[in-house]
Each structure stands twice: as structure tokens, then as C-alpha cells.
């Protein structure tokens, strides 16, 4: 019987944003804590940054693999969380990233009720992005200058 290759995961085609020294995305302590609880409920998780109407601009958190990534996405980084074995990938569509790449993103969490299919909504909270501009030094390190 022919062995069917398991190496066809489309996520492998997602381009990696260069720049190992400086992170493009980080977690607030509250968000990290919440991710541990959400992983207990839903298994390993992933983020995809949304855009557009309503809850656009919210980072959407899904069971890892639920959202199919592809060549139109970029992988901004992996978020390491204390207490979780595997880090959580953070992704964004490449076209949106073009308008966001000069900013460093921190995934935070606030009280609220997001719509969309993000897993934290039933807990009465919502992931939110805090942004700051990269400094020139950071941009240089990231290869953006």
C-alpha cells in the first residue's frame, strides 16, 4: 500500500515574517492566563487577525487548524505561554499586514462580548490588540528599514 504523505498542511506555505531578534507580536499577562484556560477547553489554539466591519480589528482565536491558512497569510510569530507545551501562532492576511507592519502588536483581553467564532466570547471577554510604533532600531532589526 502506498504511504500517503502527511506533509501537505497548507500552513507550511504561510510565509514567515523575518526578524528573529525583535518580536512583532506579544501577549499581555491577562491574555496569557486566559489562553491557558481556553486551551484546556478547546485544545491547542491559533490567532488570525481580522479586519473590516463589526468585530474587525479583533484578533480571532480558534482551535489550531480550524481556520485554514494559505499563501495569502503571513505568520507574524509564535506566542509562548507559560503552562502550554506549544506556542500559539499569530497570523494575518498579507494585504492587511502591509498596512500594519510598522506597529508592534500586543494581544490583550478586555471584558466584553465579541461576535465572530472566536473561542473566548462565551467567557464574557474579548481579545483586543494594543499597538505601538516600532522604533527605528527595531525596524532595522526586523529588516523593515
Amino acid at each position: 500500500m502506498t504511504e500517503i504523505s502527511a506533509g501537505t498542511d497548507v500552513t507550511e506555505q504561510v510565509p514567515e515574517v523575518p526578524g528573529p531578534g525583535t518580536s512583532r507580536v506579544a501577549l499581555s499577562p491577562q491574555a496569557a492566563e486566559l489562553l491557558v484556560r481556553l486551551t484546556e477547553l478547546h485544545g491547542p489554539l491559533m490567532f488570525h487577525q481580522s479586519g473590516g466591519c463589526c468585530d474587525g480589528s479583533a484578533p480571532m482565536c480558534y482551535p489550531d487548524g480550524d481556520f485554514k491558512l494559505g499563501g495569502a497569510d503571513v505568520h507574524l510569530g509564535d506566542l509562548s505561554v507559560e503552562g502550554l507545551e506549544t506556542p500559539i501562532g499569530f497570523h494575518m492576511s498579507a494585504s492587511q499586514y502591509e498596512y500594519w507592519k510598522h506597529t508592534h502588536l500586543t494581544v490583550d483581553v478586555v471584558k466584553g462580548r465579541g461576535s465572530g467564532f472566536s473561542v473566548e466570547a462565551p467567557e464574557g471577554v474579548r481579545f483586543i490588540i494594543r499597538s505601538r510604533l516600532f522604533t527605528d532600531d527595531e525596524m532595522r532589526e526586523l529588516g523593515d528599514l
Partner: protein, 507 residues
């Protein structure tokens, strides 16, 4: 000045029930898991009712009811279905105040808008599709003397609809009216931020609809929306919201090979050419009103004119007067008929808007007015209010590129027509746009050159039925608010008929 009593007070025109179950098969059904979630009003931040927290089991039950009702509903005559839609419209009209106040309390928007726009537009929308389905014809094509192709419209069957929270009732009706007119049965999930007002609407009209034709399952996206969107029992899914969920819904739809319609927002440019200020007359005043239109519905509109592009010749004067106009937008209690701008729909929405105001400042945009959370005092202190805010900056800034979904306007300058079009189209989205000019040639050319599905010329934020609404680029797929939406809820049956007695001549 008049202020409506808040729901819960003795003289209120509307009273919410303490709890809402799912509406399935014409009756209220408790959620399978017995869980409910609290529903706060953005007006004060306090909970006013609780709502069923639906899960896959509830969605399956709703799909059972819809499948049970779809065949008979799909066979009714168009006159019968149009009659039902017209009676729904009449009933809503007779209860307009009640439904409008419920909507304001639910969403936080000023009742001035729900009384004059949201609910009247919903009523008209039902009447429009009642008329459109009566007037719809199939077609026939004569292929040759003996062969005729007939095209019949047939309903899809059971469809799923996921509704946003910015116009909870109007957006539900935008989706329900064409689906029902075309003869489909619906399973609808309201947004979890605004799950209750649709039930006030349903109480008003439920007896007019055959059981199972409209089913409403409340709950969270991950628990109720996902089982609906990914179900292999629906024949189409319609969604209004943001891009990541839009993609996810398309992914689910691809697994079942069903069509989708999506409305995913925009970052609409509102373009003011020099000649709008050629005279200080009624038209100049109208253009300034157009500049302030970003405050409509607290900016929570997919087509919010959130980028103002103003030509260099009038820039300083126009922007100064425009800011003054924006400062005249009065905030207050949403149930006060004098209030122009109410509360943002939820706490996380408020936080998101404030985070964008922060990004704008960091990027070096200049705050021309507003820029802060508004504390309106008293019981409203717990509500979610933001000052109308005007930034001046560059189109590359994130506040010019992302839909803030709040009362935040980003203003920039353009030099000439080419520059205006380049800035206008430098966006991922293409839902709405505004063009303001006294020169019809300029206005026409701009209207055609802007990559957006709706271009308002010398007006903005009008949403009459019979004017197609939908997006270019990443703003979505499909056109609502027009009879062409019927096509998105219908199959085309082609019968190719030969009237010749003779063999075709192949074998």
C-alpha cells in the same frame, strides 16, 4: 424635547421579558443545555434580560423545523408570500415605537435614528421584496423553431443567516425579506451583543408566519454560529461581519459546496472637491453635513464615511467648518429624541475605538476634536460613549486603513482628481464612498473610478430599497437591498423542451 421611558420603567412603550428562549418551529424552546447568557444595555451597562445560549443541538432542532416547513412554504404562491411580507410590514409599522425603543435599548443607538431610519427602512424593505417577488418573471429562450429553454426560479430550501449587531433588526430584515420572498425557510442567529430586540420583533409578527419558516437560535459564534455555518443541511449561508470570520464561513461553505453572501465592511472615502465651497449656499451646508455623517449610528456602520478627502483649495476653511459641524453632534441618553449620537454597542467595542485613538496619536495624527471617552454622568456613566473625533493625518496610517467602527473620522488633503482617486482606492475595501462636487462631469467620473459597490454622489448614508448594496475587493460578495438579492436565494431551473416529433439524428 421628549424622552422615552426606559424599558423596565412603568410607562415604557416596550417591556422585555426577563428571559428569551430560542424561537423554533413557531414556538419558544428552551436551550438543550439549559444555559443562558446575560444581555446588558450599552446605555447604562446594566443587564436587562437573559438569552438562550444555543449549541449544536439547538441548531439541529431549528434545522429540523426549517426542513419541515421549507417544502410547503416554497410551494406557496408568490401572492401568498408577498401577502405575508406586507402583513409583517403593516404589523411592524403599527408597533413602530415599541420596536424602535427596544432597538435603541438593545444597541445603544439614538432613538431618533431607530424611529426615523432603522425601523421604517425595515418596513419598506419587506414591502419592496413583497413587490419584487410579485413582479419577478422567469424567462424563456427560443433556441430554434422546435426547442425552447424555460428558466424557472425555485427556492433553495433551508438557508442560514448570521446577523451583525450594528443594526440588529434592519440587518435581519435585509436578509429575511429576500429569503422569505423567494420561498426559503430560515435559521437565523442574531449577534451575541444584540440578541434580544429581534424577539420583540418576533412577538409582533410570529403569528403571521407558518411555523418553522423563520427560526431564531441565539448564542455565541463558536457555539451556535459555527454549527449553523458548517452544517451540511443548509443550502446557503449569509453573513455580515468581519473578514476573518467571512473567510472562515467561506471555508465551511466550501466543505459543503454551498453559496455564500458576505458583507464585510469598508473604509469608505468621502471626497470633497474644491467647488463644493464655490458658494456659501444650501449645497455648501449639505456638504458639511456630509462631512459629519461619520457620526451616524456612532460610526458603527460598514459604510461609515470614515476617511474625508478634502481638496487643497478649500482644505483649511472646509475642515474648520466641518469640525465645527461635528462638534454640534449632541450626545446624550439614547432614548431622548434630541440625542443625535448614543452609546457604542459594547464594552469591547468601546475599548477597541479607544485603542485606535491611541494608535492614531502615536502615528502622529492630529486630533482636531474629540479623542476621548465621554462620561455623560448619572446612570449613563456605566454606558459606552465616545466623543465624535476628527483626526488629521495621512492615508498610510492605520486609522485611515482600518474600520474603527466608531465615531472617528480621519481627514487628509488631496491636490487634484488623480490624487483623490489614488487615495480613495488605496484601501483593502470597497463598500461605500461619497463624492461631493457641483460639477457633474467630475462627480460622474469619480463615481465610476472609485472601486466601491456604492458611491453616494452629493448625499450620503441613504439606504433606500431598490438601490443595490454590496462590496468590491475585500468588502464581500453579493448585493443586498435590491431585487438582485433574490438570485442569491434562488436556484435557476432550466427546462430544455423539444416540440419536434422527429429523432435528433445522433444514433
Amino acid at each position: 424635547m421628549a424622552k422615552y421611558a426606559a424599558p423596565g420603567e412603568t410607562d415604557s412603550v416596550v417591556s422585555f421579558k426577563p428571559r428569551y428562549d430560542h424561537f423554533i418551529g413557531g414556538e419558544y424552546v428552551a436551550p438543550a443545555k439549559g444555559r443562558y447568557f446575560e444581555n446588558p444595555t450599552p446605555v447604562t451597562g446594566r443587564t436587562f434580560t437573559e438569552v438562550a445560549r444555543g449549541t449544536a443541538e439547538d441548531v439541529e432542532k431549528a434545522l429540523d423545523a426549517a426542513e419541515g416547513a421549507a417544502a410547503a412554504w416554497g410551494r406557496t404562491s408568490v401572492a401568498e408570500r408577498a401577502g405575508v411580507l406586507n402583513r409583517m410590514a403593516d404589523r411592524i409599522e403599527a408597533n413602530l415605537e415599541k420596536i424602535a425603543i427596544a432597538e435603541s435599548w438593545e444597541n445603544g443607538k439614538a432613538c431618533r435614528e431607530t424611529l426615523a431610519a432603522d425601523i421604517p427602512l425595515a418596513i419598506d424593505h419587506l414591502r419592496y421584496f413583497a413587490g419584487a417577488i410579485r413582479a419577478q418573471e422567469g424567462s424563456l429562450s427560443q433556441i430554434d423553431e422546435d426547442t425552447v429553454a424555460y428558466h424557472f426560479h425555485e427556492p433553495l430550501g433551508v438557508v442560514g443567516q448570521i446577523i451583525p449587531w450594528n443594526f440588529p433588526i434592519l440587518m435581519a430584515v435585509w436578509k429575511l425579506a429576500p429569503a422569505l420572498a423567494a420561498g426559503n425557510a430560515v435559521v437565523l442567529k442574531p449577534a451575541e451583543q444584540t440578541p434580544a430586540s429581534i424577539h420583540v420583533l418576533l412577538e409582533t409578527i410570529a403569528d403571521l408566519l407558518p411555523a418553522g419558516v423563520v427560526n431564531v437560535v441565539n448564542g455565541f459564534g463558536v457555539e451556535a454560529g459555527k454549527p449553523l455555518a458548517s452544517s451540511n443541511r443548509i443550502k446557503k449561508i449569509a453573513f455580515t461581519g468581519e473578514t476573518t470570520t467571512g473567510r472562515l464561513i467561506m471555508q465551511y461553505a466550501s466543505e459543503n459546496l454551498i453559496p455564500v453572501t458576505l458583507e464585510l465592511g469598508g473604509k469608505s472615502p468621502n471626497i470633497f472637491f474644491d467647488d463644493v465651497f464655490a458658494q456659501q449656499d444650501a449645497f455648501a451646508d449639505k456638504a458639511l453635513e456630509g462631512f459629519a455623517m461619520f457620526a451616524l449610528n456612532q460610526g458603527e456602520v460598514c459604510t461609515c464615511p470614515s476617511r474625508a478627502l478634502v481638496q487643497g483649495g478649500i482644505y483649511d476653511d472646509f475642515v474648520q467648518q466641518g469640525v465645527k459641524r461635528a462638534e454640534q453632534v449632541t450626545m446624550g441618553h439614547p432614548l431622548d429624541t434630541e440625542t443625535m449620537m448614543g452609546a457604542q454597542a459594547s464594552n469591547d467595542q468601546l475599548e477597541k475605538i479607544l485603542s485606535y485613538i491611541d494608535v492614531g496619536r502615536q502615528e502622529g495624527a492630529k486630533v482636531l476634536t474629540g479623542g476621548e471617552r465621554a462620561d455623560l454622568g448619572g446612570e449613563l456613566s456605566g454606558g459606552y460613549y465616545v466623543q465624535p473625533t476628527v483626526f488629521e493625518g495621512q492615508n498610510s496610517m492605520r486609522i485611515f486603513q482600518e474600520e474603527i467602527f466608531g465615531p472617528v473620522l480621519s481627514v487628509t488633503r488631496f491636490s487634484d482628481y488623480t490624487d483623490a482617486m489614488a487615495i480613495a482606492n488605496d484601501t483593502l475595501y470597497g463598500l461605500g464612498a461619497g463624492v461631493w462636487s457641483r460639477d457633474t462631469n467630475t462627480a460622474y467620473r469619480a463615481g465610476r473610478d472609485i472601486q466601491a459597490g456604492r458611491v453616494w454622489v452629493n448625499n450620503y448614508h441613504q439606504y433606500p430599497a431598490h438601490a443595490a448594496f454590496g462590496g468590491y475587493k475585500q468588502s464581500g460578495i453579493g448585493r443586498e437591498n435590491h431585487k438582485m438579492m433574490l438570485d442569491h436565494y434562488q436556484q435557476t431551473k432550466n427546462m430544455l423542451v423539444s416540440y419536434s416529433p422527429n429523432a435528433m439524428g445522433f444514433f
